[in-house]
Structure formats: structure tokens, C-alpha cells
């Protein structure tokens, strides 16, 4: 991994997992994100809401180190995105758990094997992680479906598998793009609460969703994005928080 400079080390010391300063980003000739100012910190949950095509998913791609920046400064997991080597970016990605809007799996593999993949990438041996992955499977409520090939799972089960995979390597930063899509409101809230619980083990959590009411699931820093411009809204109070059912 590339050596961190003192600014990057300082940010990590302060518990800043991701900091975006005046960042522009986009695809091809189109700039989708404009002058983004954002910070994700250890033990905090951020909810980014906005209408469809506002830039939520692009922001998640930026935070998961998949979308290059065009202007500004982005420091994510201690890595300056603009000047990091591909290997340094890959190493930083291992500390980020990502639940995509349409999660991609190896369809012929079982959900269990897919969930264990981050641990394989990190070089851990199967006998060392099997119990942990089983525990995670139970934690997200996947149950016996974990042993089925991914192609046999329902939409809700796939989403649970994606969440389990995102949590498998105990990441420092958890990103969830529309994690409640296709779920009943009750199931969706349960999933968001579950993700928000990760703050208690020191992770930073960033959730993107159109549903602003999810902010009442946990102490959440609320952000709004519209036409590529992000702005802080309000922090939900702990008094509003519903218990996990």
C-alpha cells in the first residue's frame, strides 16, 4: 500500500473515514456531482436522500473508490483518491463494505460462498472464517437460503446476502445504496436499523435512499442531494429512534 502522508494520517486519527472537499465527478462528458462537501466519521450514520437521478448512486460509487474525481480533493480510508495507485485503491476498498443498488454476485456459487468472498480476498483460510460467516448469515436472517446458489434466491434474500457480504470483513466504512429497495416497509426499516447498529462497533455508515423517513431508525446525520449538489439537512434525535424488532 502507498505510504500515507501526514494529512491522511491526521484524518484517520480524527476518525474521518471519508472527506470530500469541493469534489466534482461524473461519467464521460457529463459531470454528475458538483462541488461535493461531505464527511463520513467513525461511529456515525449518514442518510443521503434525494429524488431519482439526483446523484445518490454516483456519490456511493465515489465513496467506494469506483468513480474518479474531476475536481476537488477526496480522501477516503486515508487514501488521496486522485493520486493513489490502483493497488492502493484496491487495498483501501477492502476496508469498505458496499451494498449496491443491484448487487452483483457469482450466481452459480452459494450465498455462503459469495458472503465469504471478502475474506478470501483478504487472504483468510476457509477454516478460520466459516463460523464467522455462519453467524453473519443468521444475523441478517438469511437462514438455510445461504446454502442455495445465488440464482435461486429471492430479491429480499439477495439483498440480505449483499448486506452480509458487505459486513463480512468487518469494514470500517459501510455504504448501502438503496438497501430497502423491494422490501416491505417493516423489513426495510429492520435492515436500516441493522446497518446503523454497525456504528456501535466503530464503523461509519452511509446509506442512500429516497425514503427520508428512514432517518428515524437510528441517530442519523441527514443529507439531501439534488441535481448533483449535496447539502446537510438535520440530525435525527435519538429520542425518535425505534427499537429493533
Amino acid at each position: 500500500m502507498a505510504r500515507l502522508n501526514h494529512v491522511e494520517v491526521d484524518l484517520l486519527q480524527q476518525g474521518v473515514l471519508a472527506r470530500l472537499d469541493g469534489v466534482d465527478s461524473g461519467y464521460g462528458p457529463t459531470t454528475v456531482l458538483l462541488e461535493i462537501e461531505f464527511e463520513a466519521r467513525v461511529g456515525e450514520v449518514a442518510l443521503i436522500t434525494g429524488p431519482s437521478a439526483a446523484g445518490k448512486t454516483s456519490l456511493m460509487h465515489l465513496l467506494r473508490l469506483a468513480l474518479p474525481i474531476r475536481a476537488g480533493t477526496a480522501t477516503i480510508m486515508g487514501v488521496d483518491v486522485a493520486r493513489a495507485t490502483p493497488n492502493a485503491l484496491a487495498q483501501a476498498k477492502r476496508r469498505i463494505g458496499y451494498v449496491g443498488e443491484n448487487p452483483v454476485f457469482v450466481e452459480q456459487w452459494s450465498a455462503f460462498d459469495n458472503i465469504a468472498m471478502p475474506l478470501q480476498v483478504a487472504g483468510r483460510r476457509a477454516q478460520d472464517y466459516t463460523d464467522d460467516v455462519r453467524e453473519l448469515v443468521d444475523f441478517v436472517g438469511l437462514g438455510e437460503a445461504a446454502d442455495l446458489p445465488m440464482e435461486k434466491l429471492s430479491g429480499a434474500e439477495r439483498r440480505r446476502a449483499a448486506i452480509a457480504r458487505a459486513l463480512a470483513a468487518k469494514p470500517a466504512l459501510i455504504l448501502a445504496d438503496d438497501p430497502t429497495a423491494g422490501m416491505s416497509p417493516a423489513d426495510g426499516r429492520r435492515i436500516v436499523k441493522l446497518l446503523a447498529e454497525m456504528r456501535r462497533v466503530g464503523a461509519g455508515v452511509v446509506i442512500a435512499s429516497q425514503d427520508e423517513s428512514l432517518a428515524t431508525c437510528a441517530p442519523i446525520q441527514l443529507w439531501r442531494i439534488d441535481r448533483g449538489k449535496l447539502s446537510p439537512a438535520e440530525e435525527s434525535s435519538t429520542a425518535d429512534v425505534e427499537p429493533i424488532e
Partner: protein
Amino acid sequence: MRNALSGVERAMFWTLAAAAFAAAAAGLAARATDRLAEGYDQARRNYAIVRVLAPEGPEAVAAAETALNAAPHVASAARITAGRAAALLGLANAEDAPPLRLIEVELNPAPDSADVSGDIVAALAQGGVTAEMVEAPDVESGGEIASWVRAAAFWGACAFGLVMAVIVWLAARALAARGREMVTVLTDLGATRAQAAGRIADEAALMGLYAGLAGGALAAAAGVVAILLMAPGANLETLAGMIRPLDLAPVAAAPIGAAVAAGLGARAAAGYFYARAARLG
């Protein structure tokens, strides 16, 4: 993935096996051509006929035969009997054949620089016989043809093998495309390019190895059948003695070549997919 091969992977496996079979079969054919050319060349270089000029009489032929058997470069010498002459001339009765003052000579291999004819004629002269080489070992003409045939067989087989390797390489790229979702997942999870491409390449190389083994084994079986059907005196007992270790090189090269070509093709494709997945926009 971890279970049996899927339909597409099975088809890919047999595509690789067919390419490996074709390459190995071409290699075996080249070896057979090389052995035939080598045999022709040896026969051309190792045979001579000596005509006894003086003195007259059958004693001179006997003396020449004795002198030849002690002469340099000579493996064996035997006068052409009436029966042999009749056979060579296509006569029904040996009595009809004229008396010949000819001796057939089998020669040992000699370097191109050696004056085989001169040495033999000198040895005969020392034995009191004047003779000439009627059909001398031919190192000038004909040798070129054998050399050309051997070179053409070798390089032709190499070129064909290269074409088959390119086919395997391209097929492996298609196989890697089937694994694109795995590359995407690995990329998202923080695998390096070497890790993601290496995993896909290893799987393709393993498939290439097995397909190469299958193709090589089939080519070897076809080669054995061809020898039994076409080589004079070949049967299951003599077969092992007829095959030299070098003849098996194309069979041994098939799995290695298929594994390397498949691995390289899959690695290149997976590297491309990795780059696409790692950086959007």
C-alpha cells in the same frame, strides 16, 4: 462453478481439446515425416555398389569382397549373386542373369567431409583390386530434399501449433467473459488486478491443461492406429521399439501449450474487465 462444468464450459472444454488434438496430431505427423526423411537420407548415404574392373575372374570379385569388408566406412559388403541379379533385373530364372562383377556395400555413417569413395577405392587397390564406385553414397544431390522436407515438417507443425494456440487463446477469452461477474465482484471487494485476473487465468489454465491432456491422448491413440495400419512390420509387440522419446514431444507439449495459451488469454481478458470494473466514468 465448483460442481460439474456448465453446458457452455463443456463446449469450451471440447473446443480446447479439439485444438490440442489438432496441434498434437500435426506434431506427430511432422515427426513421422521427419523419421521418413531421415530414413531416406540414411539409405541414400549408406549404400554403394562397387564394380570390379581388374583382374578378371571370380577370384577377383571374392578378393574385392574380402578387402571391402576390411575397408574404412564399410559396414558390410556382399557380391551380387545370380539370384540377386535376377531379382534386380526382373528375370524369372537366375541362370538367365549375366555374371556380374558387382558388390553391394552397406556403409557406416560418415561426416560430409569424408571422401568415402576415394577411401574405399584406395583400400581395394591395396588389396590388389582395381574397382570403381558405380553408385556412390550421395551427399551432394537429394540430401537437400530430405533437409527441406524435415525443415518444412518441423516449421509447418510449429506454425499450425501456433494457430491452434491462438484459437485456444481466443476461446479462453470467451471463457473469461463468462467469469466477468466474478471479476466485477472481486474488483468491488478490493482484489488487485493480479488477484482478480490470476484467479480467472488459473481456472482457464486448469481447463486448458485437462483439455490438452484429452486432446494429446486422442492424438497419441490416433498415431498408434496410424502406425499399426501403415508402418511395415508394425504390431503391438514391435510398437514400443519403433517409438523414440522425441516422437512423444507433441503429445507432451499439448497440455502444457493449451494451459499456457488458455491462461494467457483469460488473464488478458480478465485484466480488461478488471480495469472496466475498477474505474467507472
